[in-house]
């Protein structure tokens, strides 16, 4: 397998599907909410049930934007 070159990556970036790039940018730029469930058990007996909801995003997306 050939490693992608910088020039190759540039070509992909510049010719990529703009609308998909925008969708990812628009919809995921502020982060994603992730939901999950965890069951902790011992010897086949369910003991603790956890339902998790986490926000995954860059730190600067959480902090409030400074007003100009």
């Amino acid at each position: 397998m050939t490693a992608p070159t910088r020039a190759g990556a540039r070509e992909i970036l510049e010719t990529s599907d703009d609308s998909l790039l925008d969708l990812v940018d628009n919809l995921l730029n502020r982060g994603v909410m992730i939901s999950g469930e965890v069951m902790l058990g011992l010897a086949g007996v369910d003991l603790v049930y956890l339902r998790l909801q986490a926000m995954l995003c860059a730190a600067d997306r959480v902090s409030r934007r400074e007003e100009p």
Binding site: D22, V24, N26, L27, L28, V32, E66
Partner: protein, 223 residues
């Protein structure tokens, strides 16, 4: 057990049928504390695949045809039921109403600035001790991260169209900066014409324009 998937906050209930959502679920409107939310009941959290992202965008675009303001919510936001939704919105009404007012009657255009290298950041002489200079330098760097002087040749033409701007510089060429503009609905064609007319003046930088989009970048206050 199904959960409630939150798509957007709306200025009012849509006059038409809301249609179906990303999991083919029937969309419905929940009114809570003076706010209107567009939701769907889903069995599993939607995954951020290209198909789902396109579907979610399509839902919001469809709604934008029927209501004045659509405030997109962070992708993947789920609550247990309508009561939990009302609780999560309670107490944030003034903030969310303000955010809805800001995007009312508006849509978003996105500009990307491409080039081999970014213009050099201005270097200002800083006074004071080392700590003061460090903090002032950080402040300058943060301000520069939201400045896109590459677009200065077109700002005059855009001034009458743009109500608000979000800008972000990127570290690695060829993508130098992304700028989102909030414009009045229906003025997208004039906006694109203004950019096209200024392409020669914008050189050596290349600018791509996409839109109109729902006002994603201007919905920081939404959940």
């Amino acid at each position: 057990m199904s959960r409630v998937y939150l798509y957007a906050l709306l200025s009012a209930a849509p006059s038409c049928e809301a249609g179906v959502g990303v999991c083919a679920e029937r969309l419905r409107v929940v009114a809570a504390d003076g706010l209107v939310a567009l939701v769907g009941d889903v069995a599993e959290p939607p995954e951020p695949t290209a198909v789902i992202l396109r579907a979610q965008d399509a839902v919001l675009r469809r709604l934008a045809l029927a209501v004045e303001a659509v405030l997109p919510v962070r992708f993947g936001t789920l609550v247990d039921d309508d009561t939990a939704l009302a609780e999560s919105l309670a107490g944030r009404r003034p903030q969310l109403a303000r955010a809805l007012g800001r995007v009312a009657g508006c849509e978003q255009m996105t500009l990307r600035v491409w080039g081999e290298s970014a213009p050099a950041a201005p270097v200002a002489e800083l006074d004071g001790g080392p700590g003061t200079r460090y903090l002032a330098g950080r402040r300058q760097a943060q301000a520069w991260a939201r400045r896109v002087p590459e677009l200065d040749p077109v700002r005059g033409q855009l001034e009458a169209l743009v109500r608000e701007e979000r800008a972000e510089r990127h570290d690695r060429p060829p993508l130098l900066a992304t700028v989102q503009h909030l414009i009045r609905r229906g003025t997208g064609a004039r906006y694109i014409e203004a950019i096209d007319a200024a392409r020669a003046a914008l050189r050596p930088w290349r600018v791509s324009v996409t839109g109109p989009w729902p006002a994603y970048a201007f919905a920081e206050d939404a959940a």
